[in-house]
């Protein structure tokens, strides 16, 4: 999946992946794809929840061993 930026939040626990996501999203342009890498168990539900609340779109997810990869399209 094409991505414009990546956040490596591996090793961080809730809420840090979401906090980093929110911060990075402010710097992104509409339509760009942000990749978030996380291995926090809470991220599975946290990221879709953040997207739903902020109007950004979760366009893809992958699991690479313990790492979860989220692809978020900026609104």
């Amino acid at each position: 999946m094409e991505k414009h930026a990546t956040i490596d939040a591996k090793g961080l626990m809730c809420p840090m992946p979401i906090v980093q996501l929110a911060k990075k999203a402010k710097e992104m342009k509409s339509g760009q794809i942000l990749e978030l890498l996380a291995d926090d168990v809470g991220a599975k539900e946290d990221v879709p929840a953040w997207c739903a609340r902020t109007g950004n779109q979760l366009v893809g997810t992958e699991e690479d061993g313990k790492t979860l990869k989220f692809y978020i399209k900026m609104k």
């Binding site: 809420p15 840090m16 979401i18 906090v19 929110a22 911060k23 929840a49 953040w50 609340r53 902020t54």
Partner: protein, 134 residues
């Protein structure tokens, strides 16, 4: 109109200090307007140099907890407070508690507003969610 979250913190232990900050920061990251009202023993948490400890017997384990939290990206109490402030979380100190405990406005962490019960209750009535943290 933004979603609002209000939280009341009436105890001053480490766990009661960190919880509203973590939840408040997360809510702010999701676009929610957050208001945290510190009253009674919680008021000490918004004073400069506050160093809360875990309750009772757990007091001795505070340092260990802080180390573990740091290892997963959650900073110290002061750092987490700063981060919450940076994300736009609003802190309020109960005016009456300040009077009873001799806390002056100059003792408060910069950015903390002084609020009374009625004003806070108005905020709470406009909020989708109000939580009592302890």
């Amino acid at each position: 109109m933004a979603d609002k979250l209000c939280m009341v913190v009436s105890e001053g232990t480490f766990d009661k200090a960190m919880m509203p900050l973590i939840m408040g920061t997360t809510a702010a990251a999701m676009g929610t307007e957050v208001h945290i009202f510190y009253t009674f023993f919680g008021t000490k948490l918004v004073t400069k140099g506050a160093k809360p400890k875990l309750p009772g017997f757990w007091r001795l384990f505070t340092g260990m907890f802080e180390k573990r939290m740091k290892a997963v990206g959650i900073g110290s109490h002061q750092e987490t407070m700063q981060q919450a402030r940076d994300m736009g979380v609003n802190f309020y100190a109960c005016s009456t508690t300040m009077g009873l405990m001799g806390i002056k406005e100059s003792d408060l962490i910069p950015g903390t507003k002084v609020l009374g019960a009625a004003a806070f209750l108005k905020l709470a009535s406009e909020s989708q969610t109000t939580l009592f943290i302890g």
